[in-house]
Amino acid sequence: MSDFEPKVVAFVCNWCTYAGADLTGTSRIKYASNVKIIRFPCTGRIDFMLLLKAFANGADGIIVSGCHPNDCHYTSGNFHAKRRWIMFKELMDFMGIDMNRITFSWVSAAEGARWADVVNSTVTRIRELGPYVSYKELVNKSVEEEVKND
């Protein structure tokens, strides 16, 4: 497990967290390279299905991050996203899908150092949790194998 390099996907909004991550770069603050960023105009744009797609394609952890409440470039996208995540988290918990593998955060364009912290703490946590075996198994389990089953 020691050489386990978690795959973490970050879904971030263009105006705050993406810009914040840019600032982390311009400030030359180092963080774990396991995280790869996908840019969205707004957290309001992030479909909950994309999070499942990330797990289905082998992600061990996910970060979802956008503007702090009241700072949304589009005024309200992050508020809508917040409600969506509240419901999503409740459903995932109820189905036993591991929500410790998802970090939801607000990181502003000025919080370059904080972005590094969010990434590093997420990667550390996912490292401890290990690969997301149960979701990977779920994805690879094909009904046909049941028929073959040898």
Partner: protein
């Protein structure tokens, strides 16, 4: 081959099960906690159900799985490579405990899958399959095998058909060479058959399928379809539990450069089943889809495949969330 009748005692039946499971996989019905009966691979004999009327799903899954990979592929920079499914790896399976309606359905499926080009996947699975059917000693209002030309003790599709005697022993009709091979592999478990008649349930004849087929030839525009399908909600339950429904959807699923093409069950009851790319949908409303379902089984198939598309198992009716009772509708249809 000529059918031979043997006796197999209750205790020997368990031994036969153990004997068969030693060499191959057994697909047998099991009663779940919620009283539903589902087929499972290699269940312990003690769990195998023998008193049920019908399982929730038919046994078609064994020859026509709900999802089946057709091939795997890899998209490289300049060319794509295709990897075939190794059909020879499909294991030998014994289907245990299927009722005559379900076993008869294999012939119907064959008439669909192999009417012109032989479907390799289906054929291979059928070839690897040995069927030990159980004649029905119980039935209910949904059953109508006798209206589709079958009977509760029909041996159609079985390699060995077991029928229960009053005392719980069974008579075994050895129908095919495959059945004979089983008999030969464990002759000690079989005895000479008594003269006694097995317990067979009585299934009332509800309609004449010939008459239904005749009526359907001119019933395409009949108001019957709208009136009788208003409550149909357009789910695929009837098609998916049906032992003879064979429609499938083909999909490609890729991850990165690797992918697979597979087929999975589909249903003509779905609104988008017939949607064209142009946006046109020849079956726009549910009555047209309901008509298609009945027409296909009772008119088109007798015409084209010379086989009725229904075996009268009654699952479509018992599984329907809105009680679309097919035998009731067919009864009505023969009188329109």
């Amino acid at each position: 081959m000529e059918t031979t009748r043997k006796l197999i005692r209750k205790q020997s039946l368990e031994k036969l099960y153990a004997h068969l499971s030693g060499s191959r996989k057994i697909y047998a019905p099991v009663t779940a906690a919620n009283k539903q009966v589902d087929y499972k691979y290699n269940p312990p004999y003690a769990e195998v159900a023998s008193d049920h009327i019908r399982s929730t799903l038919s046994v078609k899954n064994i020859v026509f799985p709900k999802v089946e990979n057709l091939f795997l592929f890899t998209n490289n920079r300049t060319e794509s490579t295709i990897t075939d499914i190794e059909l020879f790896k499909i294991p030998e399976v014994v289907l245990w405990g299927a009722h005559p309606c379900d076993t008869a359905a294999f012939d119907v499926l064959r008439s669909i899958f192999c009417w012109d080009t032989k479907d390799e996947f289906f054929s291979q699975r059928v070839e690897k399959l040995t069927v030990i059917g159980f004649a029905c000693h119980k039935s209910d209002d949904y059953c109508f095998c006798t209206s589709t030309g079958l009977s509760p003790d029909s041996s159609k599709g079985s390699d060995i058909l077991l029928s229960r005697l009053q005392n719980g022993d069974y008579v075994a009709d050895i129908i095919t060479e495959k059945g004979n091979a089983i008999l030969d592999s464990c002759p000690g478990l079989f005895e000479a058959a008594p003269d006694e008649k097995p317990v067979i349930t009585e299934v009332k004849v509800k309609f004449s399928h010939e008459q239904v087929t005749a009526k359907l030839a001119n019933a395409f525009e009949h108001p019957f379809w709208i009136e009788n399908s208003l409550r149909c909600i357009g789910c695929g339950a009837c098609a998916y539990v049906c032992p003879t429904c064979a429609c499938f959807d083909i999909q490609d699923e890729t991850k990165g450069k690797n992918g697979k093409r597979y087929r999975s069950w589909d249903s003509c009851g779905f609104g988008l089943f017939t949607l064209h790319t142009s946006g046109h949908n020849p079956r726009q409303v549910q009555s047209q889809r309901w008509r298609q379902r009945i027409m296909h089984k009772f008119s088109y198939m007798p015409d084209r495949n010379e086989s009725l598309g229904c075996v009268g198992c009654g699952r479509c009716s018992s599984g329907c969330p809105v009680d679309m009772n097919i035998s009731e509708q067919l009864e009505a249809l023969q009188n329109i």
